[in-house]
Amino acid sequence: MAYDKFDILKTTAVPLPIENVDTDQIIPARFLKATERKGFGDNLFRDWRYNPDNSPKEDFVLNNPTFSGKILVGGKNFGSGSSREHAAWAVYDYGFRCVVSSFFADIFKNNCLNIGVLPVQVSAPFLEKIFEAIYADPKTELVVNLPEQTITLTTTGESESFDINHYKKDNMLNGFDDIDYLLNIKENIRAFAEDTPL
């Protein structure tokens, strides 16, 4: 599925300083019953965001108008657990284009890259600084520069570089996905398959 190209993102951010946020929290299983990729943002962090009677939980950050922006800043080991891509869809559909953490679970990170959400892994001290800066001033902007692979706190000018696989970076910059690439080498695949018994 095509997504918007990612280049340089300058925006405020939403802090969620909780560790081991698993994909069951990001989107509970009972919301996985759709047959189309629509409306998942409404149920992002459903059970942390709403009471059983659907009233918003006021102490949850997504219900706090002080914080907003296109970047979600999470605690260590973000996105663990279930492989559901719906978690990444929910993040994207809610309006985030980037998730920052000091550590990501593998499948979640992969899923994000496949659908146009940029996972940015920073050092633990830098993550702390980001949280501190946002809490000190929720209007603090972050700049995520994909071509340069840097993330910068505009308030202090402090910056860190982040890793991203060259191929995935290219895809993100152009809004391409893997299937486009694979369909181009279909003949190689066919030749390989013929030599590989079922």
Binding site: R37, D47, E85, I107, N110, D178, I179
Partner: protein, 469 residues
């Protein structure tokens, strides 16, 4: 060059290498289910392309299916819609479909091995993280996201960076009451839920050698819970014996040829791993979790750790205990429970039912406990009946449900109510995993059985020793 088992299988499936990028990996077998596939099929449709090799994909319905009255139409319209979509998509693309009511229906990771779809040296993927289960046969098997499901349908390939390698050795002899589930929960408690992130794990050592295929599946199944991409165990005589004669297993000359390859599937002497860890079997006792991730497990006779004894994350730790309504230092034994769930792709196979039955035999289900006993497949269900296990369960006041994922992820009606405690043989104790507000204690079938007959967390060894006397 000396190679690990993982290297051997991986390298032989690389179709193409992208410089500074992922490998294009050929996928031998692909399993799909109703929840993570509909959007992938829609993607194919919008691109106007077919499934490249429909014979390599197998579909089963399991995640949101009811576990009673499967012969009736599915009541929940959203679930029914997903099931219908899977059936139609399978038909339209010529994929074999084992839907509700089909004799081969069951949890995707249970039926794969049962019918010989799972084979040594194969690459196997599915849009479910516990695909790692199939690694028990020496396959590279891992869970994928929906975009990747679409990728495999469209091209039979996936793009992946090769993972780092880790070997986990467990040597020695397991003591009474210690099952493969306990070995896995023990390892996860030591490594934490992110300890193996970025790695593919090989399990080695006499504990795994001596384990049955079913036990190996339980262990590999839980690899994902320490963050690993997957886990695998070198195939041996036990493996070959298990797969021989199954529906999708090769026969005749093909079998001989396959065996020739399969026998090469072990890590070369002296091959190196990026990380290697060794544990002693004697240190492991029956395990139980007390928190909201599978790494929060302890030996059942221990107390809940104090926050200061843990590395980092005190606030997260306290939040977790608060959710569970447990306190630091509490003993687990004696804690009252409300539900017991025996099932899932972790512990829903025949050996798990045998283990459960061995404890409940001659006892009675505790009145305060609601028990859901859910076989992993129809094949398991039949074996339960044929072996007389059903009679033992019924005599003890238990009923058997119909196969499916059930309370493992509570997408159907099998939901644990808010605030209630469930001892579950499944794989995840996340907040709300078994229903909004549910509190899950992960454990082995023996611990689940002990809880089911006593109504509280109980050391199964006590009930087993009574038998020995």
């Amino acid at each position: 060059m000396k190679k690990t088992l993982f290297d051997k299988v991986w390298d032989s499936h690389v179709v193409h290498k992208i410089e500074n990028g992922p490998d294009v990996l050929f996928i031998d077998r692909h399993m799909v289910h109703e929840v993570t596939s509909p959007v992938a099929f829609l993607g194919l449709k919008s691109r106007g392309i077919p499934v490249m090799y429909p014979g390599r994909t197998f579909a089963t319905a399991d995640h949101n299916t009811p576990t009673i009255n499967q012969h009736l139409p599915v009541k929940d319209p959203l679930s029914a819609n997903q099931l219908k979509a899977l059936e139609e998509n399978s038909k339209a693309h010529g994929i074999s479909y084992w839907g509700l009511g089909h004799e081969k229906n069951g949890i995707v990771h249970v039926v794969g091995p049962e019918y010989g779809i799972t084979q040594p040296g194969a690459t196997i993927v599915c849009g479910d993280s516990h695909t790692s289960t199939h690694g028990a046969f020496g396959a590279i098997a891992f869970g994928i996201g929906t975009s990747e499901v679409e990728m495999v349908l469209a091209t039979q390939c996936i793009m992946q960076q090769k993972a780092k390698s880790m070997r986990i050795n467990v040597n020695g002899k397991l003591s009474l009451g210690v099952t493969p589930k306990d070995v896995a929960l023990y390892i996860i408690s030591k490594l934490t839920t992110s300890g193996a992130t970025g790695y593919f794990v090989e399990y080695a050592g006499d504990v795994f050698r001596n384990m049955t295929m079913e036990g190996r599946m339980t262990v590999c199944n839980l690899s994902i819970e320490m963050g690993a991409r997957g886990g695998m165990i070198a195939p041996d005589e036990k493996t070959f014996e298990y797969i021989k004669g199954r529906e999708f297993t090769p026969v005749g000359a093909d079998w001989d040829k396959a065996m020739e390859y399969w026998k090469t599937l072990k890590t070369d002497e002296g091959a190196s791993f990026d990380k290697e860890i060794t544990f002693d079997a004697a240190d492991i006792e029956p395990m139980i979790t007390y928190g909201t991730n599978p790494g929060m497990g302890i030996g059942i006779s221990n107390g809940i750790p104090k926050a200061e004894s843990l590395e980092g994350g005190v606030a997260t730790y306290k939040k977790s205990l608060h959710y569970m309504a447990f306190h630091e230092g509490d003993n687990m034994i004696g804690k009252p429970i409300d539900f017991v769930f025996l099932g899932s792709c972790t512990n829903g196979r025949i050996e798990d039912f045998r283990a459960f039955a061995s404890i409940v035999k001659g006892r009675k289900k505790a009145d305060n406990v609601t028990a859901w006993l859910v076989p992993g497949s129809h094949k398991v269900e039949s074996a339960i009946k044929e072996e007389g296990i059903l009679d033992i369960l019924n005599a003890a006041g238990f009923e058997l449900r119909e196969p499916g994922c059930s309370a493992c992820l509570a997408m159907n009606d099998d939901k644990v109510p808010a605030g209630k405690y469930a001892v579950s043989t499944s794989n995840r104790n996340f907040e709300g995993r078994q229903g909004p507000g549910s509190r899950t204690l992960l454990a082995s079938p023996l611990v689940a059985a002990a809880a089911a007959v006593t109504g509280k967390v109980t050391d199964p060894r006590e009930l087993m020793q009574e038998e020995l006397v």
